[in-house]
Amino acid sequence: MDGLLWLIPAFPLTGFLLNGTLGRRVGKSWVNVIAIGSVALSLLWVLKTLAGLWPLDAAHIERYFVWIESDILTVPVELAVDRLSAVMLLVVTGVGLLIHIYSIGYMAHEGGYYRFFAFLNLFMFFMLLLVLANNFLLMFVGWEGVGLCSYLLIGFYLLRRSATTAGNKAFIVNRIGDFGFSLGMFLMVVQFGSLEFSRVFAAAQAMPIEHEFGILSLIALLLFLGATGKSAQIPLYVWLPDAMEGPTPVSALIHAATMVTAGVYMVARAAPLYLQAPIVLEIVAVVGLATAFLAASIGLAQTDIKKVFAYSTVSQLGYMMLGLGVGAFAAGIFHIVTHAFFKALLFLGAGSVIHALAGEQDLRRMGGLRAHLPLTFATLLCAALAISGIPPFAGFFSKDEILLAAHHHAAWMYWLGVVTAAMTAFYVFRALFLAFFGSYRGDPHVHPHESPPTMAVPLLILAFLSAVGGFLPVPRFLEPVFGPAGGEHASGLVVVSVGAGVAGLLLAYAFYVARPEWRDVVVSRLGALYRLVYNKYYVDELYAALFVRPVVEGSRAVLWRGMDVAVVDGVVNGIGSQARELGSLLRWMQSGNIRSYATWVLVGAVALVVTLGLVGGAP
């Protein structure tokens, strides 16, 4: 079977190759045309493909060639579209295109312009490959590729040490997750002899549901370890807040809208496998809920606007995982979609603020920006309402579905989710009030200005999507993939969760606009707790003490001084010095005096003749 599905990732790859090789020479306008054009073509091709395949009841698979062939394993290169990947394709290319356009304005004054867009295109390629892959190995290629691009783009300001460190951190932490993913794949090869989705899932479904921890549970758990790395869940979430060192469009595209949802997508894709392992599904739910709760509480006290939104992303990803864990796969994917809209918007809005303030990110040095940035404020308000779950904005619908499913599963999960929702509303409106209300507290020499149209238009489109995106019938659309969404709408629960969002909003209003003195009272009352949250529960310090320092010190003592210096260098240097010793022994023969050489020749010749005579070589 052949087709043109491969064109979808091929467009951004071409863009990357063109910009990567020629971008330095052709100037900014051509870089823009190539980068945005390639993504736009990709989006158009997605639309055309989906229109051609409508209504896409079954997966459309295209096989191109066999990549790996051996006795135990055959891996073809196949791309597939079903309804699940269709949703992801639209989100990735659609939001990706908007963020590319936004980047024109945002990156206008930055060095390495072509490099930025080349990496962004490369990211799009790998992300689309990840989404379209029809087996785990090809998915893993995309998975690693987006990780690479994430690393490159976090460290984009490569002269800033904190940026390169954050890039390393993201890469290394993800490595732990990828290790789990690889082990999961190895087990699949051993157990099922295949990595193709359809075969693996069919084989898994043929096995009985594991109520005790077994091989399927182990595979699912290892895959989930990969997902905790990529989708920033406990215990591997620590890289995402640091990833905010990258340019803001990168934070929006990679670290909010698309790449970090790859873990959620992967778990959803492997839903048949997870459904056979209810224990792991329970773990997914608990980890997701814990992540959502903890990250939201950290977000309450952060002062860097991007850090607030980063913890918010971690928290929302936790919601998605919670949705998957309680069996509401469609709701989880729905939340990916709405989250892509409002979180991309939050980041782009934050980028607009940062841009207007010439790089200021500290909320304490903002304030009163409502008058200067009316458009940014209005769009950010849409995003904030959406993430707080206020109807009829987008976040309400998806979050509500997840919470309902959680309630169906276990009541305590629902209540913890509601508390998290209240905290979500609080921290996001806290950021909003700090930035846009009150009086300006920043550098008096900076004059805030509204962003250029290339930045404003994506903001407006995303604001529109954040407002009405909830009406997209994503869960119903996904029914052929995940089965019918079982969940009666209990209006009482809806009122509670919306009430929690409103309560968080009002509390933020009270603390940061109406009654600032309350805030000080609360902070002083909760001194220890506040410090704990402000310092992010000291998780980074804990990891540093438990893992980073032992590894670094151990590497220094054993691997560097013991192995590298003593053994490897020792062997090489030893051979070298032995050769020199030998050379200095032979050196006295090489006098440089012609007559001494001639003497050697004569001696040699005489010795040869004498030897031949003695041996009797001459007749």
Binding site: Q590, S591, G592, N593, I594, R595, A598, T599, L602
Partner: protein, 102 residues
């Protein structure tokens, strides 16, 4: 075979060769050393020709011609080197040229 016996030729050849070799080893002037080389080559030529005459074979003559040609070429190259060395160093002493040695 009549006339001078072969051993005489060979003895002369050995004497000439030894003179050349000793001269090559002892003398310092490059020009003299080149002359000594010629002497050694001609000593060898002498024994070649003597053997050729004795054995009534043409091989020895051919070898002698080859040696002459090579000697001529060697003299040309050697003298050119000596000349260049003289220009560069104002010396024709073998001990003066040890530049390639560390």
């Amino acid at each position: 075979m009549n006339g001078v016996p072969l051993a005489w030729y060979l003895t002369l050849s050995v004497i000439l060769f030894s003179l050349g070799a000793a001269g090559f080893l002892i003398r310092r002037s490059l020009l003299t050393m080149l002359m000594c080389v010629e002497l050694m080559l001609n000593a060898v030529n002498l024994s070649f020709v003597a053997f050729a005459y004795r054995l009534q074979q043409v091989d020895g003559h051919i070898f002698a011609f080859f040696v002459m040609v090579i000697a001529a070429a060697e003299a040309a190259v050697g003298l050119a080197i000596v000349l260049a060395l003289f220009r560069y160093r104002a010396a024709v002493e073998a001990d003066e040229v040890g530049m390639l040695r560390l």
